[in-house]
């Protein structure tokens, strides 16, 4: 038997799977970017929505993945396929090295520190450190994926690669939700003193969230650089970090449908209303404010009580 949420999920999956057959190339690119941004939003959600850490520098991890692929491919001639592992591992290693010393900071203090990291990251990119990053213009001419002599170069290929990436991301989110790791993050988020008294290390699980989030964001960044065959610093600045932060809060922290809706509202709707030019951002500002007033837990808030069915039998 399938419940309502499962049915909606299946319909969405079907729609997303067939979407490229019905749209022109411009909308196909919007669709691909939506899938990539959804991955980044989910990875932000692990840190912000689940572990409850106010992290506003997530575009840095996204950018680290994108630049790892770009630099290794453009400057060192690596095949895109070979850059996939480094584009995940390098953001994870950076997350550990940068965040471990500041993970004990509370809410707003940590938020400011993560913004600081993001600003420094942009400075490094713009100043073309070691002549690798291409400065303010970024890097161009990133290759496409070749497997067994076949080129995955069309927009449709890009779309389905991003589709698979989102599938992997959702699989991880589901595993996380049903493991002691995901639960530990919720406990820390809801009451850190009670969580510690149950034997849960704040430091370990917050870092776990950061490293996992950075890895997924890095993979999405790699995909992003290949899709546009170029990277430049402004795609990974603090404004982008604010957008990922907002997607999670507007959509619904720790809620899978919520984060998808958040990504749709914050990213796809502006594309739909392109003809209104910059006036559309006014509408979004207002929408963000109204969401926080009317639905402070997001458009589709998280639902707890995800327990095995044998425990639900006796419950009312």
């Amino acid at each position: 038997m399938m419940n309502k949420t499962g049915l909606i999920a299946l319909l969405l999956l079907g729609f997303a799977g067939l979407y490229p057959l019905f749209v022109d190339s411009a909308w196909l690119a919007v669709g691909t970017t939506f899938l990539v941004f959804a991955c980044v939003a989910f990875s932000q959600d692990i840190i912000l929505g689940r572990a409850g850490v106010f992290h506003m520098g997530h575009a840095m991890f996204f950018g680290l993945g994108a630049y790892t692929t770009a630099i290794l491919n453009v400057q060192f001639g690596w095949a895109i396929l070979a850059t996939w592992i480094p584009s995940v591992v390098i953001p994870m290693a950076c997350a550990f090295a940068l965040v471990a010393p500041i993970i004990h900071l509370r809410g707003d203090y940590l938020l400011v520190a993560t913004i600081g990291f993001n600003i420094i990251f942009i400075q490094i990119l713009e100043n073309d450190v070691f002549g690798l990053t291409g400065g303010p213009n970024g890097l161009f001419g990133i290759d496409v994926v070749h497997v067994f002599g076949y080129d995955f170069s069309s927009q449709i290929h890009m779309y389905y690669m991003a589709f698979i990436l989102l599938g992997i991301t959702l699989f991880i989110m589901r595993s996380l939700d049903r493991s002691k790791f995901g639960r530990a993050m919720f406990y820390i988020h809801k009451d850190d003193i009670a969580a510690q008294s149950m034997g849960i290390s704040l430091r370990y699980y917050k870092l776990y969230a950061f490293i996992l989030g950075a890895g997924i964001a890095g993979a999405a960044g790699s995909m992003f650089s290949v899709q546009y065959s170029a990277v430049s610093p402004e795609a990974f600045n603090v404004t982008q970090s604010i957008m990922f932060f907002t997607i999670v809060l507007v959509g619904g922290s720790a809620s899978l449908p919520g984060v998808l809706i958040g990504t749709f509202v914050m990213f796809v709707l502006p594309e739909v209303f392109r003809e209104f030019e910059t006036a559309r951002y006014l509408v979004f500002g207002v929408a963000m404010i109204l969401t926080m007033i009317l639905r402070p837990r997001g458009i589709w808030p998280v639902k707890f009580g995800n327990i095995p069915s044998f425990l639900k039998k006796g419950a009312k």
């Binding site: 991880i172 595993s175 996380l176 049903r178 493991s179 002691k180 790791f181 995901g182 639960r183 530990a184 919720f186 406990y187 809801k190 009451d191 003193i193 009670a194 969580a195 510690q196 008294s197 149950m198 034997g199 849960i200 290390s201 704040l202 776990y208 996992l212 707890f304 009580g305 995800n306 327990i307 095995p308 044998f310 425990l311 639900k312 006796g314 419950a315 009312k316």
Partner: protein, 260 residues
Amino acid sequence: MSEYLLEIQNVSKLFSGLVAIDNLSMKVKKGQIYGIIGPNGAGKTTLFNCITGIYTPEIGQILWKGKDIKGISPYKIAGLGILRTFQTIRLFSEMSVAENIMSGRHIKSKQRWYNGIIPTPAYFKDEKYQWTKVGELMEFFNLSLYATTPAGDLSYGIQRRIEMARALAAEPELLILDEPAAGLNENETIELTEMIRKIQAMGVTIMMIEHDMEMVMSLSEYITVINFGAKISEGVPSFVQADPKVVEAYIGSDEEDEDA
């Protein structure tokens, strides 16, 4: 190894020069129910916070099975088998009762770091086992009915039961109860008393702060009385009840007691 499970030796805790706990010593035997009483503001909860690692006392030692555990972080204290409840209930109120109790199973779970990303056969086995344990505890505490209900939506008495179930889920050696009967009605207090006896029968040592004198006197095998952070009396319930110093301390603070 020491004959005592927990020994508090000459512990003092200062808050910016104010003495919250003043040269306090006590010894808790394995399997005992140990009561701590005293007027409000006497430093009882501060003592529990020192034992569970939330505070680090400036002076003295806290020995767990003979080893000093002073200054160890709270999550490691829980790992040693010292679990607690809170005076002001601290549940994960948006989460279901079952999920709340599951937090107690955290330290017993054998899931590996990669199980947060990918499930393995060992993970499925562990996950099922932990939830089964949660089911047993809900049965024991008569909570099965509320398995999926958010803990914050339930009455005070039920929330206290959830907190105890959560602590007990971690299979503690020492269970620290901070005013377990506060806010409970008469029937609930009787239920609680039976529950605490059953927990003791499982072999769990219990330390308890309680203002309900009838309950604390009937349950405790040994009692320490604290006032202004210092011990003013200790002994078996009948001795403590008759001690003039204890009577004086309570009469002198009658008013605050009413606010509790």
